[in-house]
Amino acid sequence: MRRADEDQKMGVVATVNGRERRFEVLPRVSLADSLREELGLYGVRVGCEHGVCGACTIIVDDLPVRSCLMLGVQADGKTIRTVESLGGGKELHPLQQAFQRHHALQCGFCTSGILATAQALLEENPCPTRDEVREVLSGNICRCTGYQTIVDAIMDYAACAQANDTAFDAGAGESAT
């Protein structure tokens, strides 16, 4: 059985952004902090640290989750994707380009969580309605944009993807337009 005392680090092996990664953490460290501090993935944002703001949202085993409400030690054996994996990590993904075109971010603190939320939605439902996008975004707080431009960006991306008949590809890097 996997177990550790409060001052004892535990080994974790997980697939993170396509690569097998190993790290050691204390039980009390959240997955968000583990990814930031052990693996240097600073795209994972830590806002409220108790599940209400959505800034820390990442994708674990293909499902969006709050990384502030998972423990680092619970990542063992999981497949994790953070914003760093979008667009292969080099170029902006077409979804990110749509965010840029529509001014869907200002300070950007909420953006990686919103991208993960949108990515999970689009993987499941490539042509969502505006209402569906708004409902999914209800779990993410943005203090800057007023949300309309975020919804616009996601709808624009979905329309382009539909026109080109392409499914959501997290690794895509070329312009969608």
């Binding site: 059985m1 550790a4 039980p27 499902l63 998972m70 409902e135 779990g139």
Partner: protein, 284 residues
């Protein structure tokens, strides 16, 4: 805030989990962590040890029996929302699941965790109470079962003894038609007020009724007087208005930053009227 320090164990069998919980009286089961971890971050809870139930496969399983369905404690809200069996047998639960939190929380938060946590504004305790679910508990002194009416005792308070694990809930199939109505500030927030209403209509009149209110008091409340009133009556607008008024009468409502007691009672009446109207227009 960061979590206070704790030790962690991730057993793979129920027996091991029960042993761990009984070894240290300051240990707590960790299900989806979507309520316990926020409480730890806010320093409302600081258990010395967390026993992660996430690797106990048996707790995740649900089975359809001849007259009921047993839903595993560790089935997530997302699994249940996608379950064809739940959609078919318990449309009330399927409707209520739409109101539980946001996708990212539903992907981790569990049915059993929600019931064991027993937040007054949580939907699953109301659903399990309305459908007469039987809670399945396992501990060092063996297994026991409890009806929902004896299980939920107050806000964050249930009949689970320290060291016990809720393994699942057995819910009998219902032949009533059901409606669910809720008011919360934003989609995915806990309910300020919610109702579950079930009726059977035979020869134009109501032959069976079950009316439950949640979020109003500190635990789900059954409106027995209003149920009795409905029996033998046609669900006309006047009858519905009278039953809705009766259903909230005499409840000691809670008051908090989201809503006053009076507002909650007025919401309860309105939501009950909407639920019964929905049933009347669909059922008659």
């Amino acid at each position: 805030m960061k979590f206070p320090a704790f030790s962690y164990a991730c057993p793979t069998s129920l027996a091991e989990a029960i042993e761990l919980l009984n070894d240290d009286e300051d240990s707590r089961p960790l299900a989806g962590g979507q309520s316990l971890l926020p409480m730890m971050a806010l320093r409302v809870a600081a258990p010395r040890m967390l026993v992660d139930l996430g690797n106990i496969e048996a707790l995740r399983q649900s089975v359809v029996l001849p007259d009921s369905m047993r839903i595993g404690a560790m089935a997530t809200h997302a699994m249940n929302a996608a379950s064809f069996d739940i959609w078919m047998h318990f449309p009330l639960m399927a409707q209520a699941l739409h109101h539980v939190a946001h996708q990212a929380v539903r992907n981790r938060g569990t049915f059993g965790g929600s019931i064991a946590h027993a937040d007054a504004g949580a939907e699953m305790p109301l659903v399990v109470s309305a459908l007469d679910g039987v809670l399945l508990l396992d501990g060092q002194s063996g297994q026991r079962t409890l009806p929902a009416s004896e299980f939920f005792q107050g806000h964050y308070t249930t009949a689970i003894e320290p060291g016990e694990i809720l393994t699942g809930v057995e819910i009998p199939f219902s032949d009533m038609d059901w409606a669910f109505e809720e008011l919360s500030r934003r989609p995915g927030d806990l309910a300020i007020a919610m109702v579950a209403a079930g009726v059977s209509v035979e020869d134009g009149v109501c032959s069976q009724a079950r009316l439950m209110l949640g979020g109003i008091s500190d635990h789900p409340i059954r409106a027995v007087e209003a149920e009795t009133y409905l029996i033998g009556r046609e669900l006309t607008p006047n009858v519905i208005r009278a039953a809705a008024g009766m259903s909230a009468a005499g409840i000691h409502a809670r008051s908090d930053t989201h809503a006053s007691a009076d507002f909650r009672l007025s919401l309860a009446t309105t939501l009950m009227r909407r639920a019964l109207t929905q049933l009347a227009t669909g059922a008659i």
